[in-house]
Amino acid sequence: MEFEAIIGLEVHAELSTKTKIYCGCTTEFGGEQNTHCCPVCMGLPGALPVLNKEVVTYAMKAGLALNCEINKETYMARKNYFYPDCPKNYQITQDETPLCKNGYVEITTEEGTKKIGIQRIHIEEDAGKALHREDGTYVDFNRSGVPLIEIVSKPDMRTAQEAKMYLENLKAILQYTEVSDCKMEEGSLRCDANVSVRPKGSTEFGVKTEIKNMNSFKAVEKAIEYEIKRQIEAINRGEKIVQETRRWDETKGETIVMRSKEEAHDYRYFPEPDMVYLVVDDEWINNVKNTLPELPDKKRARYISEYGLPEYDASILTSSKALAAFFEDTVKEGASPKDASNWIMGEVLRTLNDREMSIEDIKVQPKHLAKLIELINNGTITGTIAKKVFKDMFETGDDPEKIVKEKGMVQISDENAIRDIVNKVLDENPQSVEDYKNGKTKAMGFVVGQVMKASKGKANPQLVNKLVEEELQKR
């Protein structure tokens, strides 16, 4: 029997506000344990929450960028559960009235563009952090009350690849809008997956499992792939899938049932009586709309039409806000879009990939990349040298002109100097001269190579070609 998978994702993204959602404590990452806390975010008796206005703005920004409708009247709700990192033993979130609903993200699959629906986006508070050590669990409440949005997708994804693409696009949009910095390693982006399988062609949903603890996009992809396979194999063996929460174990490469909870979740949601109605009017919504930057889809289209870039290049360059900014800044500094794109798609991304770094960490400045391109185009350095210069720039962040000067990498375009090298090479290789005279034109290539080598790659290749031919003729 052929199966298809049904995948839905729940993504938590930390908002980039300065203060927590219900109190004025800073959201700064790091900081000594329990120093970004007050009676409100520590859940002291008598303390009360007051909603951070910017949280609403940021969440609406995300919602609008993700093509959602905004719920103009909402209220907060309490989700009740006991856990040591949850100071009030309830989380203030939204239940029946999420701030945003009915949006979508577009992904590009082999079959074309596909819309992945977003069911809802709501605002809520993060919990503290529990560190499990040998002699006990240690709790730090610095993160308690940091604002989050939870983005719940519709069960529209069918493969792990689609899930990964959805996540990548979602992350790009959240970063573009500066709603969240989406750093998975700092926990500012987290993802849980709901996975079920069903016989292809069936319209009913199978029993789903929830997968947690996936710490990278790759992990999400691998975990979902594993879970789909596991479920199909189980069904083929005649087993039933149970609704349960499973943990992705990165080292084992499998999903494992989490210690079964002692009771079914009964969160006892009810409207938060310490807070009041949240009403957003058209003016507020329009103000947020006006601050939306150019989003990845539009940018991609513009790169194709305005810069004449191939679709593939345009997609890569717009895949993250930082990369697109790097590209645009390089162009702004004078590089042609084509050259800038070639360099970024080539050396820049290759080197970053080799070092497992991201564009945010690069030392090379766009203006320096533009200058490097300029140095090639005006003949100061050769393409070969340029790659060496770039390696230096990548390590030091230095100006390419300085590197070229200091290391004497300027292209040799002096005819006499090159002619001297050519003659020296020809003198040393009489066989090549002989071969050339016997009609073996291949010999010329060898001589050119030797000349370039002798000049340490600095000789102007066009001149070398011309002079080698001239001198060979003379002999």
């Binding site: 008796p45 008598g46 009360l48 007051v50 009740n80 006991f82 709790v139 949601y269 009810f270 009041v276």
Partner: protein, 483 residues
């Protein structure tokens, strides 16, 4: 001295006839002589009180202008935070909790140079109508030590009645200020929901709780209300409404003012003698030229049911934070974290608190939310609408505060539902969120009877006006227990 009102004391201080230190010492002596019998105080901050009194005396000596409350001893219900003092809510689970911050009202009192004597006994977490549910000791009625002072702010009411403080603060979720005020023969005001910040009041039922003053008379009430009312950015539910000069409502004529008498509040369940006293009070108003109108509030009878669902549900969630982790009582022995929660909470909370947590948890649990909580929120809308409509026709509504005078200690403690019925006239007011005041209006067998005046939203002024008119005509607010 201890029988005097706040405004009388202010006058004595202003005339230089008594210093704040003398006054504070005098009150501390009064406490040590009677509180063994009354049980109003859980904690006394003698040093803090005397230091403050000295500070105010200095100010006066330097000729500085001081506030109306400056230098006068008062005390605070033990569910309101005062930095550096314990806030126990009369519960074992908070027995050693020292608040690291001030409630908004505490800040306001400190700005007014109030002399804070200490913290007052109450029903555990403000759950109760008799102050028998304190984990530490029972409060007794100064008029009859065998009887309850009412609750949950029993300590706050008894302290004012017995002259152990010139005014006190309490909290009112379903009648917890007005009912004990009535049973102890003092004035107690529950302001409009949102009139006073709840920041630093340990929440029982967030959508119903409101802080308010206990005083000997209505004039004092106007002064205290003015000092503690007003918007607070730390409480989302606090109202952005100007605070009025409430004293300008004193000594006003009430001729032509319309007083509504809801017929539902005079039916079955009301003690006959109490009814007579309230009818006498109505007669006083008629004599003063007020227009008495019978009205009907048919939805009121559902208020208690709505109350027990909303209050218990909110409480079950509000009290979840008492888990023995960040503060409060932690059981000595436990197997793991879940067991730590269970043991600490089971040993830390008293029976009535557990009963309400259980009821609230049940009402919110899967499958029952719509039938109970959501239904109650809808009926609440109808009750609110009914009050709004009523105030289109009348200026205030008059009812008994409590269906009976103070009952005997232990009399109702085995029957929760019967105990709950003693809040029958006060609960609807919290559901609607309107303000109401209880004023001494008579005696039955030597025990005080209170009358409740209910006002429109944010119209505390009219309550002061109407209450003060009654006080000028009668002597009930001048009576003091003989303890």
């Amino acid at each position: 001295m201890h029988t005097k009102t706040l405004h009388e004391i202010r006058e004595l201080i202003n005339k230089g006839e008594v210093s704040c230190v003398e006054l504070t010492k005098n009150t501390l002596e009064r406490i040590s002589s009677v509180d063994d019998k009354i049980g109003a105080y859980l904690q006394i901050d003698e040093e803090g009180a005397l230091n403050k009194a000295k500070e105010v005396d200095e100010k006066i000596r330097r000729g500085e202008e001081v506030s109306f409350l400056a230098g006068i001893p008062m005390a605070i219900k033990d569910n309101i935070c005062v930095e550096g003092l314990k806030t126990t809510c009369a519960s074992k689970i908070l027995e050693n909790f020292v608040s690291p911050y001030d409630a908004h009202v505490t800040k306001r009192l400190k700005q007014n140079d109030a002399v804070i004597l200490g913290k007052l006994n109450m029903d555990e977490f403000a759950m109760g109508s008799s102050s028998e549910n304190s984990a530490f000791k029972k409060v007794r009625n100064p008029y009859d030590l065998e009887r309850v002072p009412g609750g949950s702010s029993g300590g706050s009411a008894a302290a004012v009645a017995a002259g152990e403080a010139y005014y006190t603060l309490g909290s009112d979720t379903g009648g917890s200020i007005r009912q004990p005020a009535s049973l102890c023969g003092v004035v107690g005001l529950k302001p409009t929901y949102g009139r006073i910040s709840r920041y630093g009041l340990v929440a029982f039922a967030s959508s119903l709780d409101q802080i308010g003053p206990f005083t000997k008379d209505v004039e004092d009430c106007a002064h205290v209300l003015e000092a503690i009312a007003g918007y607070d950015e730390m409480d989302s539910t606090s109202a952005k409404k100007e605070v009025e000069d409430y004293t300008r409502y004193l000594n006003q004529d009430i001729k032509g003012l319309k007083i509504g008498i809801p017929k539902e509040c005079f039916g079955e369940g009301l003690n006959e003698d109490v009814r007579k006293e309230i009818e006498n009070a109505i007669a006083v108003y008629r004599k003063l030229g007020a227009e008495i109108k019978e009205i009907s509030l048919p939805m009121s009878k559902y208020a208690l049911a709505v109350y027990y669902i909303l209050a218990s549900s909110e409480a079950s969630s509000n009290l979840a934070r008492f888990d023995g982790i960040r503060y409060g009582y932690r059981a000595d022995e436990f197997e793991d974290v879940v067991d730590l929660y269970v043991k600490s909470r089971s040993k830390g909370f008293g029976d009535e608190v557990k009963r309400r947590i259980m009821l609230g948890t049940y009402a919110l649990s899967a499958g029952y939310y719509d039938a109970y909580y959501k239904k109650a929120l809808k009926v609440r809308t109808l009750i609110i609408n009914e009050y709004k409509r009523a105030f289109e026709d009348v200026d205030v509504i008059l009812t008994p505060t409590s269906p009976t005078v103070a009952f005997k200690i232990g009399e109702k403690s085995n029957n929760p539902l019967e105990m709950y019925l003693s809040d029958i006239y006060t609960v609807p007011i919290n559901i609607a969120g309107v303000p109401a005041i209880s004023i001494p209006a008579g005696f039955v067998g030597g025990l005080p009877v209170g009358m409740q005046l209910i006002g429109n939203y944010f119209d505390e002024g009219t309550l002061i006006k109407v209450g003060h008119a009654f006080e000028r005509e009668t002597e009930f607010s001048k009576v003091r227990p003989s303890i």
